[in-house]
């Protein structure tokens, strides 16, 4: 989802700005900068009018031969933490030749990659000294979004094919071709820059940033995350809320259930407290979403048929086509053990007689065996 959001965002950016201006002055110098627009490459939402100021964190990234690169917390007007950022200057070396890479990185409050800004006067360059073009920056952005990239597992030497000595003498391994496994995801001719940037973003600092946020964490921040559109924030907030607190925020949780990713939905169903299931009215918005949610979440919801309100059972009996074969079997097994309203049986009959329903035969068999 982040990839898609990022791509859409970039389309807008590409159409609107040939060169995106540097949003804030340097952090390593005087920290009077105000940020009032999103980073050029960015994964998160940006509320209209949002204005961020900087606050020192005392954290830094150590870069070889350059030293410490400070990390700042970006806060909104009410001093709520929003992002982390660092202006990075780091050497990128290949074949014994080093160049400086200058880039401003952003992280979420959970230490995940959030985006970057480039410096138009100091563009990133490739191995052959060509400057990055817009598409290359976008590719870098997409690579940085992949926190499970193969880069995590491999050393840089493992990402290039060693040229055969007979062809190239004793050429440094780095000048070999990028291996096929990563070729599609890295900027052509800039493997080393991509590798360095990825490890800056996803290295040890990611965990430290999350730890820093945990130090700032209070109920307000948890609820801000719950109300954020980012699924990682939602999941984090849901994990931090005590189960019994779910009831206090049911409206928001029901909204997330409808709109978020399958992983978050499944977490919600599995962690709703017993108290929730005991009050049938609570459940209605969840059952209403039945045919629009992913299959895994639907399976988990079906585990609660016994507690479901009758109106939702009737509603589900009208959505048999959205179930998988095994889900339908489970639902029919549930119906087989009880007396069902005429409306439910009517819905089943309609479904069983549809010519194009793959699992109609299961319902037909059920109706044959079912005795009111």
């Amino acid at each position: 989802m982040k990839l898609v959001k990022a791509f859409l965002f970039m389309l807008v950016v590409c159409m609107g700005h040939a060169q995106f201006p540097l949003p804030v002055p340097t952090l390593n110098g005087v920290q009077e900068g105000i940020m009032n627009r999103p980073p050029e490459f960015f994964t998160m939402g940006w509320e209209k009018g949002l204005q961020l100021g900087t606050r020192e964190t005392g954290m830094f990234i150590e870069v070889d031969s350059i030293g410490q690169q400070n990390i700042a917390l970006l806060v909104d007007r009410e001093q709520h933490p929003v992002l982390y950022t660092s202006e990075i200057e780091t050497p990128v070396c290949a074949d014994g030749e080093c160049k400086l890479m200058h880039i401003r990185l952003y992280w979420t409050l959970l230490g995940d990659y959030a985006g970057f800004d480039r410096y138009p006067q100091q563009p990133l360059t490739k191995h052959d000294h060509d400057e990055f073009v817009q598409a290359d920056y976008l590719k870098l952005h997409l690579l940085l979004l992949d926190d499970k990239s193969i880069f995590r597992q491999r050393k840089i030497e493992e990402l290039v094919k060693k040229p055969s000595p007979s062809d190239h003498g004793d050429v440094d391994a780095l000048s070999g071709a990028t291996i096929a496994e990563v070729k599609e995801s890295v900027v052509s001719g800039a493997l080393y820059s991509c590798y360095v940037a990825w490890h800056l973003v996803h290295g040890e600092i990611a965990g430290k940033l999350k730890e820093h946020t945990l130090g700032l964490l209070d109920k307000e921040l948890i609820l801000r995350m719950l109300h954020n559109e980012d699924p990682d924030y939602q999941m984090f907030a849901l994990e931090k809320l005590a189960k019994e607190e779910y009831i206090d925020h049911l409206e928001r949780i029901a909204t997330i259930f409808k709109s978020s990713i399958p992983l978050v939905r499944s977490y919600i169903i599995k962690n709703l407290p017993e108290e929730f299931w005991n009050i049938r009215a609570n459940q209605i918005p969840f059952w209403d979403a039945f045919s629009n949610i992913d299959i895994n979440s639907r399976s988990l919801l079906l585990e609660h048929l016994e507690e479901a309100p009758e109106s939702s059972i009737v509603e589900v009996s009208n959505k048999l086509g959205s179930m998988t074969k095994n889900q339908l079997r489970l639902f029919l097994d549930f119906l087989a053990e009880r007396n069902n309203e005429p409306e439910i049986l009517e819905n089943l009959k309609v479904f069983a007689n549809k010519g194009n329903e793959i699992c109609a035969y299961l319902v037909l068999q059920f109706l044959e065996d079912y005795k009111q």
Partner: protein, 600 residues
Amino acid sequence: MTYSHKILLALGLIFCIASVKSQNLLVEAESFENPGGWVVDPQFVEQMGSPYLMAHGMGEKVKNATTKVSFDKAGEYHTWVRTMNWAPGDWEAPGRFKLKVAGEVLEKTLGQRSGWGWEYVGLAKIDKAKKVPLELMDLTGFNGRCDAIYFSTNQEEPPASPKKLAEWRKTVKSETNGPEETKTYDLVVVGGGLAGCAASIAAAEQGLKVALIHDRPLLGGNASSEIRVHTEGIYGNFERILKMLDTEHYPNGHVDAEIDQEKRDNNVKSYDNIDLFLNWRAYDAKAENNTIKYVDARQTATGERKRFTAPYFVDSTGDGWIGFWSGAEFSYGRESADTYGETWEEHGELWSPKVPDNAVMGSSVLWGSKEMESPQEFPGVPWAMPVAKDYSKVKGEWQWEFSRNDLSQIEDAEEIRDHMLRAIYGSFSNAKKEPENANRKLEWVSYLVGKRESRRLVGDHIFTFKDAVNEIKFPDAVVVEKRAIDVHYQTILEDEKNPDFISEALFYRGIQYYIPYRSLYSKNINNLFMAGRNFSCSHIGLGGPRVMRTTGQMGAAVGFAASLCKKYDVNPRDIYKGYLPEYLELIEEQKYRKIPESKK
């Protein structure tokens, strides 16, 4: 077995019932004398009732399967075919075929019904009762399937429900309750993946008489040239044995799997005291007083049955069938993070859930295509597109994996395999629309489900993530591994726009971990060893040792343990309790035994 014997055996499978009222004949498709281009698929016997013939032509019609059958009498016979439309919907069924009887093609197109069941073909006219030719004629090349053909002068359809069908089959075939032939061994190993092969070799080298029962023609399971996953992990103490069985590190799905296949098959066959039962699938195991008495198996094409008795059994079936049938404790799904302290905060719910569930790692179906010298056609596959959507690829690696919480990797394996076939054909069809792929042709698509996780039998020790992280050197450590723990999840969980058949791996890198012998025998079945993915572990515990050199180590460790069990006439647990030093010494010795030239 001579050719004439085979024919006799095949003819023996054609079961006639003569009664006062009607003449009936059941022909099992897998027993056709010449399957032509159709393949025998025995993977789903426990669910749909029988091995079957499948036209796996990757989009090109396969050669007809042919056989000859004899009726008691000439006449007109109502004819049914047991089949299934494996991708039903608003399109022509992908796997359509026809039946030819006595030289006449029957009009009805088969392979069109949802779910396994009988399709009525029509009346077949049999003029001469003896040696009547039958042919299955594939119309599409896309996995049409035929389980059986039934002829009857009576128009009553054979039973549909699996239970009734099984009883009916027994009656029609006049089968006795158990196999008539019983074979006795020191050790019966069920499942010829790397674990089962290694167990057989280790035990055989120690002088045990071993039966190795495997339901495919080729050994190796996921490493075989039929599935083509390369072997990962280290050799531990068993380099000599595992080098006879493992693979090179070629890309998954690579044709070089055939070279290693030959090596593996030849090596296992070179042991005189391993009786190899290829194409035999176990279908039952019986325990009395928590001790397995026998395993019953059936030849996948002829239907012949044998009973195997032994003091000790190894379950290396992957799905833990022997344990399941004999009443061994087992687990399936993900434990809660707290159950064994398996939290890894970085990956949260994707790694180990707060609340347990029945999610597991999925199964893969590997495939590939090749460049030809001229343009290649590929037929339209509308039935594949709801799965593939706009995904476009020309080959599939390990990431082609499918798991969903409403599907059991055991009970719904056929649906899982079929889902992957739709993903493959649909994605290739999309790729073929690109001009650069005009000359591409499907080279190989597996039809076997390459499973990662299913039942895990419970032993005296349940191996967990914590054991690996803490690198606990158990007193009975017999398997050692350095490869990362690698747990998969479906990428659709993070983004509904992702294909539902693509997975992602989460790696935990440690230095070295050990698996204790106590995880390799059943907690409650006294004479049952297990090796392979069905060993005793948690869901996360399986993440590392599921790779095949590690499962091979388990097999070898179990084979050596069995030899001591025999020597002292004791059960697997007793080796841990009373003979551990001797056992560990035996395993340690393996490091120093050279690989004989003939076994390299």
